[in-house]
Amino acid sequence: MTSIQKKILTLTTIVLLIMSSIWLALTYYNFKTHQQYNDVLQRYLSMNEVSRASQLVVNDLNQLMLDSNPASLQQLQVSKEKLLHAKQGVYPLRNSDNAFTLTNYVHLIDSLVETTNRFILFQAEKDTESSAHEFSEANNISTYISEMTLALIDIELNTYSLFYRGIMEQSGEVIKLGIWVLLLITSILLIITYWFSLGITRPIFQLTKAANELSKGNFDRQVKVTAKDEIEFLAKTFDRMRININNLISEIKHKAALERELQESKLLLQESQFRSLQSQIHPHFLFNTLNTLSKKAYLDGAEETSDLLVSVAGILRYNLKQQNRSVTLRDEINVLKQYIDIQKARFTDRLQVYLDIDEACLDLKIPALTLQPIIENAVIHAVEPKIEGGTIWFKVRKKGHDVIIEIEDDGSGMPQEKIKQIINEEAPAITEGHSTGIGFSNVVKRLRLFYGYQDVIEILSVQDKGTNIKLIIRREGAVLDDQTSHCG
């Protein structure tokens, strides 16, 4: 059962109980008063009954005296019984006021009965004189009974007149009391009903206010209703709904932000595609030109220049072709070698590069142009600034299931902030002019995207001693081709 229903039922029950108890009390009082009236009336009736019965006895006596037959004797016996019965009825009516008279009365009845009995006896013995005497005696007694009945009723009237007046007065007072009780209960009920309805409507009002707030779009205000009934439950549900809506809204906002970002990146992508397409036009021309220059240099006898130009052309081709594809480590290393050749032409003896490559690992898949920027970075930071030049070690080796590509230099080292920046792929490292435009952090990003895990790179740097960059590539995490490469 719901608690509002319970409340209403309780109130109704209480009202009903009060009303019915008042009704019962009044009815009981009425009943009692009636009973009292009836009792009093009954007294008169029983006294009158005696008087009547005694007259009846005398009548029958007379009858018997005139005509002595068994029928009238029977009649007399019956009326005598009636008289005795009436006596039984009148005897318990004694009270302090009429005790004396009533006792006399009862004895008078006895005397009448005795006289009657004597009469019957004399009658049976045919003693006419005695029976006549008894008859007159009985007649007298009957008269006395009648008189005493009147006297008794007179006493009764005296006794009960006060009582009557009391009853009437009490009736009046009871009516007054009834009116007062009715008024009192009415007012109390009004107050209780008002209070009770307030208990139901106040939470509803609070709820309405909260709903209003919500409809206005104010989702931050807590809905709080203390009613301990359905309304409170409703308010709690409502509050939960508010919180949910709040969450949904923030989620939608979040999504919208994401979508905007996506849109931006889409635009960026289109732009870059456009750019890359555009950039592919010149390189081919450049590439052809470079080949022409290489042949020209060769024909002019400048073989070294020709080789350099071939290397440049190779890198350029690789660059144009492979930018967005994965390649094998072998291809990557080939390009790397060409790049080193070019750099060696520049730095001559200042640049020392040692390659230590485990051939078994050359089939490893790797994003294009990942190693070159790192080497370039090493050249720029470790070789370029120093007059005596620098050394770069490039190692590829197996370690358990991993392939470790290690690039080490003996330069001035990398500041910690920069390492952090690179690892965290933060704002792209300030390009220091020489890169292909694809920075170090770009490399990191691509590696992570390609292999699908974070700790793909490790950078160790000691001030003035050099930097060691390790690319740790899990073989099983790498592409399927890996297995066909018989790497391990």
């Binding site: 004694r94 008078l108 009582f163 009490q170 009391l177 109390i188």
Partner: protein, 325 residues
């Protein structure tokens, strides 16, 4: 606004509570008390005092004494009586009392055959004891248990002695009594005569009358006609004194006459107080009432059996007009 509403509501409720409460109190206080029902419980002795002359000062006192004594003894007693010497009513009362099987009857003796019939035959038949009070009827005739009251012979003597003192032993004395000559009147007359007969110069004039008012008037007129010289009047039945005096006062001054009577008539004491009559024999009605009840209860309880059949006599004294000659 709301506060005002609450205050008004509280005041209304408190007021209504107050009214309801007082009204309820009133209703509860009005507990109508009916006389306690005695029901079947057997009462104590029921006695009846029956007189012919209710509401005469004398009999009122007898009743008073009897009722007081009845309360002391713890018996119930009712006083029944007829007014104005209604003999029929009186006898009927006795008969009712007998048929009502009361435990005892105190009765003003009436020297009439009907009375004797009732007491001797009926009361004895039902075994109801009867004590005569104030006026006696001889035991042989009434079978009364005893008599409580004055010795009427002595009363007569007393009144005669007083008369002698006032009359200087010479003159006519009128004695008026009922034709029936009830026993108590006979006793009084006997007492008076026993004194007056010693004085030869005093002449006694006896007048008989019926007890009706006209008869008394006629008898008075007659005796005044016949004996205009009469010096003293003694109505032996005290009930006649008022009629007699009004009749005499129509003829002459009352002063010259000596009028003596007894206190058991309705007017005797007040006439004495007015100085119209010269002397009254005062009996002890209260004592009679008390004593008779006491004796009857003692007899009923078997404490004093049998009662002295000669009777229990109360004191007498003569009341005279203040400053009488």
């Amino acid at each position: 606004m709301q506060k005002l509403g609450i205050i008004v509501a509280v005041v209304v409720v408190v007021l209504l509570c107050h009214f309801t409460f007082t009204s309820a109190q009133k209703v509860l206080q009005l507990d109508n008390q009916l006389p306690r029902l005695i029901g079947e419980e057997e009462g104590n002795h029921r006695l009846v005092l029956i007189t012919q002359d209710r509401q005469t000062p004398f009999w009122d006192k007898v009743a008073e004494g009897a009722i007081r004594q009845a309360e002391i003894e713890g018996v119930s007693l009712e006083v029944w009586g007829s007014y104005g010497m209604n003999k029929e009513d009186f006898l009927k009362n006795i008969e009712v009392a007998i048929h009502s099987k009361v435990n005892g009857i105190l009765v003003q003796g009436l020297d009439s055959p009907e009375f004797k019939e009732l007491t001797k035959v009926k009361a004895s038949f039902h075994g109801i004891p009867i004590i005569t009070v104030a006026n006696d009827v001889p035991m042989e005739e009434s079978l009364r248990r005893t008599y409580v009251g004055s010795d009427q012979y002595t009363a007569g003597q007393l009144i005669a002695d007083e008369l002698i003192q006032q009359m200087v032993s010479d003159g006519q004395v009128v004695l008026m009594y009922d034709r029936e000559r009830e026993y108590y009147q006979r006793e009084r007359i006997r007492g008076i005569k026993s004194v007056l007969n010693m004085y030869s110069k005093i002449e006694i004039i006896e007048v008989e009358t019926d007890s009706t008012r006209d008869q008394v008037k006629a008898a008075t007129r007659d005796v005044m006609n016949r004996f205009p010289q009469a010096d003293a009047y003694i109505p032996v039945n005290a009930n006649h004194v008022g009629i007699m005096i009004s009749e005499i006062s129509k003829r002459s001054q009352l002063d010259p006459f000596l009028i003596y009577t007894f206190d058991d008539g309705p007017e005797a004491i007040s006439l004495l107080a007015q100085g119209i009559i010269d002397g009254v024999i005062e009996q002890e009605p209260e004592k009679m009432g008390e004593w008779s009840v006491q004796l009857l209860v003692e007899w009923l309880n078997g404490e004093t059996v049998p009662l002295n059949h000669k009777g229990y006599l109360t004191d007498l004294k003569i009341l005279k007009v203040n400053g009488a000659e």
